[in-house]
Point group: C2
Amino acid sequence: MTKRNIYLEDIPLDEARAKLQAALIAVGRAGPLPGERVPLKQALGRVTAEPLRARRSSPHFHCAAMDGYAVDAAATVPARETQALALRLGDEAHPVNTGDPLPDGTNAVIMIENVNQADEQTLLIYAAVAPWQHVRLLGEDMVATETVLQVNHQLRPVDLGALAGCGHCDALVRRRPRVVIIPTGGELVPFEHEPQRGQLTEYNSLILSGQIRDAGGDARVTDIVGDAVEGLREALADALAQKPELILMLSGSSAGAHDYTAAAIKALGEVLAHGIAVRPGHPVIIGLAADTPLIGVPGYPVSAALTGELFVLPLIRAWLGLAASEPVTIEAVSTRKIASPVGDDDFVRVALAQIDGRIQATPLQRGAGVITSLVRADGLAHIPRFHEGVDRGGTLSVALYQPLSAIQRTLMIMGSHDPMLDLLATHLRLRSAAARIVSVNVGSIGGLIALRRGEAHVAGCHLFEPQSASYNIPYLERFLRDEPVTLVTFAQREQGLMLPAGNPLGIAGIADLRRARYVNRQRGAGTRVLFDYLLGQNDLSPEDIAGYGHEEYTHLAVAAAVADGIGDCGMGLRGAAEAMGLDFIGLTWERFDLAIPRRHLGSEGVQALLETLNDADFKRELGAQSGYRSHETGIRVIS
Amino acid sequence: MTKRNIYLEDIPLDEARAKLQAALIAVGRAGPLPGERVPLKQALGRVTAEPLRARRSSPHFHCAAMDGYAVDAAATVPARETQALALRLGDEAHPVNTGDPLPDGTNAVIMIENVNQADEQTLLIYAAVAPWQHVRLLGEDMVATETVLQVNHQLRPVDLGALAGCGHCDALVRRRPRVVIIPTGGELVPFEHEPQRGQLTEYNSLILSGQIRDAGGDARVTDIVGDAVEGLREALADALAQKPELILMLSGSSAGAHDYTAAAIKALGEVLAHGIAVRPGHPVIIGLAADTPLIGVPGYPVSAALTGELFVLPLIRAWLGLAASEPVTIEAVSTRKIASPVGDDDFVRVALAQIDGRIQATPLQRGAGVITSLVRADGLAHIPRFHEGVDRGGTLSVALYQPLSAIQRTLMIMGSHDPMLDLLATHLRLRSAAARIVSVNVGSIGGLIALRRGEAHVAGCHLFEPQSASYNIPYLERFLRDEPVTLVTFAQREQGLMLPAGNPLGIAGIADLRRARYVNRQRGAGTRVLFDYLLGQNDLSPEDIAGYGHEEYTHLAVAAAVADGIGDCGMGLRGAAEAMGLDFIGLTWERFDLAIPRRHLGSEGVQALLETLNDADFKRELGAQSGYRSHETGIRVIS
């Protein structure tokens, strides 16, 4: 067995940054990069490397500010409204258009609206004009030598115009910081390849290079380097030979057997820090070789992306001469208790919506491997070191990934997640580009509780009640007694047993589940409520079912578990079974409704939702899905 | 003479937009563009043209979430902290690294920290583990078929990672809206050329194409088209043949003789609106030809840039499927009375700073020709139609061009503008990328009044007081009696007479100014105060000086007026004279100080300013400027 290197120090985030900064200052690489000359047409978004002064005044001659006639103001003194003054055209008055230079001997312009042309030679005016009236004086906008743009200024479209207007054809701008990215790991394959079992798709280089390009840097990704320390050392030496500003070594920075990053850095330079007290993302490595900073980026995608935000982007901005980026940060109410390791700076991705006037933050899945938690995040909550987390209802400081206005019009749907809610979101979005649905899966009962707590605008549920043999309504009475609620049908869905293709165990119904390993849904899920009911109908109890305790959180997750052989059977939607290539035995059609507290009915988002539910195109497309019927879609069960 | 077309209708902004929108809907071009397939590596910032679903689950097999040993959870049940359980390596326990697939027959991982290896064949564990502990289940992140990204979503780095992680190599994204930009006007020359008298630099195409590229569109700029209606019609026909989404015709949209834009549009299509009640920017033309929208963009750069913001960018975003952009809008207090034409939507560029807890907005020069007013603007105030403007102290609604945090740390300097304040700003910015100075020129006395009103943090002044023969202090007593103020010297500057090169009138001093046309500074300017004093010393009065009433607002503007022959002489700084190639007769050295109310001394910005004033590099560079001495720079005259 390979020797395993299991100890990482964990130094605080601030200390790690300070170490890196001190090392950069020591080697003279902490400040902005030198400039390069770039034509204005290619300078958009670049950062000035010197103050830019006007080379020429603008305008560079006195010119007419209006269409009209240029005159000598002194000659107009006798003109009166009641007594027109005649000026000889081409001599005392000269037709000029906006931008024309003032003819010699003139110092004012009379607007075309205020004159009459008596004949080919004669212009009549009716008022005296002041000198320089309607004249743009030389240098009105910019005077030669004055500073037009400061150093370390990111060039916008109007800046380019101003520079061109005062005689510049190019600009000295900061060279783009160059970053070499080395993905490492024998298990990785480029994302363009189909991975085999045991192989993982390498896509962190795509995230990091995207972040770097967005920030104005230049990223080059090398081929994937396998798990040999020599190969990695060679790749690092090659990268150093290119003299970049920064080298990132992706993955390989955990304590696993294949972790040669630290060894490779030590072979060519020094490790400044290994392990940083940040969650997610502990196994960050910071080093320096040949005066070049090196960052070992953890392999989990969320850790990798946050390492980019916390360590890489600040460097890029500093090298460009830009101030650290300052995301808009708001205070939000946490809808969950969040436990944080006391010693770590903890970064929690959250979904955000404004409900009853307060911005509510719902933490998303916290695993460092769940890239979709970053994709779905509306913001990043920071729970600083020495804090134990927040309680439900506590205040979180959240850096926004979305404009506040977008969050304020976000419709938060909690409860059971039907995959076709995504189809609804698509139609809503096609109807209005400004519409935004965020959907958080907490199960049917969880959704009703979320409504009661004011954490969601809408709850999706499909809860069967045996006594009344009805859906949802009895549960509203139970969980939302004091809240007037509108209940709208979303769809009828076919529930049944999902089985491996070919049904090897020959299962025909619930009664056969004694001899199968079942994959269950979590407590509070409508599908679990239904399953428990069906067990009772078949005189079975949970104890009879192997795997009853194996909980998954979505239909697709259950289907995936069955497809992968973790279990022999699960209950869920026909659509999920078919998506995974499973067999399906239909057991019942159930009604999936959306519950909406009446006080939210007036909001734009809810209105758009209700309209979309009744949209003929949407209903047609929904009804065409396998296992869905849309004939009752949009009907208000309780209005 | 050419027939002149002087009538423009003025329709309200909303009506103009609605007309354009209705025309686009009528020809089926109001909605998002179709998609094109783009490799993920090139898809950053592009907008999805369909919902993107997972093609493959991620992870696509159960894998170890930690470095450790994969085991069958059932086999671990007997393990106790006090009684280690031995597992056979390679049979009951398999070493795995993070990301490795779980070997067959295993369903949990024990962390490497929690085991002991007894010998080559034996692993000791001390606790039972639950099934699926430290295992990333197949589909934990994404399950095949689930929607990962919605339609009309702008792709960020993490989105690209997620797509790559679930089996995508490319994405269907909205085609970039194509815009052809036709600059028109016989007086225009490309900005790369040196313009002659009467020629203007064409740079609006640079602004508009920059705006379009920033927004995700594709802009192509044609050669400049002269002032012949045939040429313009031809250029328009050529542009239409390229089948772009939009054609912009720059300039030529005022009522001047060269305005053939409307005629050319009418020849090939129809004009929907000519003249829109927006300030600045009235002469916008909106038309449609061959189902393609056409916008005639006014020639003045501020009007052109605002036409881009108001009309072009919303179209680009709609074609990309994006919601209208929503700049952060704040309420600010106006430091000036602003008169607005009642019938117009008035857009006023403002400088912003937070002083005494309130965001103060100072309108910048309002001329449509002053592109630097857009360059310097921190925000755009909108005074809607049917409003007459605001009084000083009134509230303005301002859309921000800068992050609010940048405005909150902005140091507002009002008063006399010394050109070397820009050098100070440069050094301050090099010292701290986050430092921001905004400097507004209101003259020395204006600056002191601004301090009194709480509209600035710092005032620059050089006010000579004959009785005491001292600078600035007596004026502080006059204008800021109740305000404790620190006075810091900025520089000693050489003031004198600026004369055309070669001094053709042979002027030797103030006494000779009887026979010259003088160019004066505005009331309240320190240079004017000094000039009035020198007049008195020479037994002259304002009536003796031709041009006494001709006011300019800066040293450079006076120098430019003398250089251009508008006047024969002006008073100002040696540096300004030399910058314009003028002769200079030095008259006196004066002290330019910065007055800072003591209550602002604690702020970060003021502290950085004071440090920079005492920075050796800065003082050396300042002292090396012609007409400047820096030996007293940074000294507190009043602390």
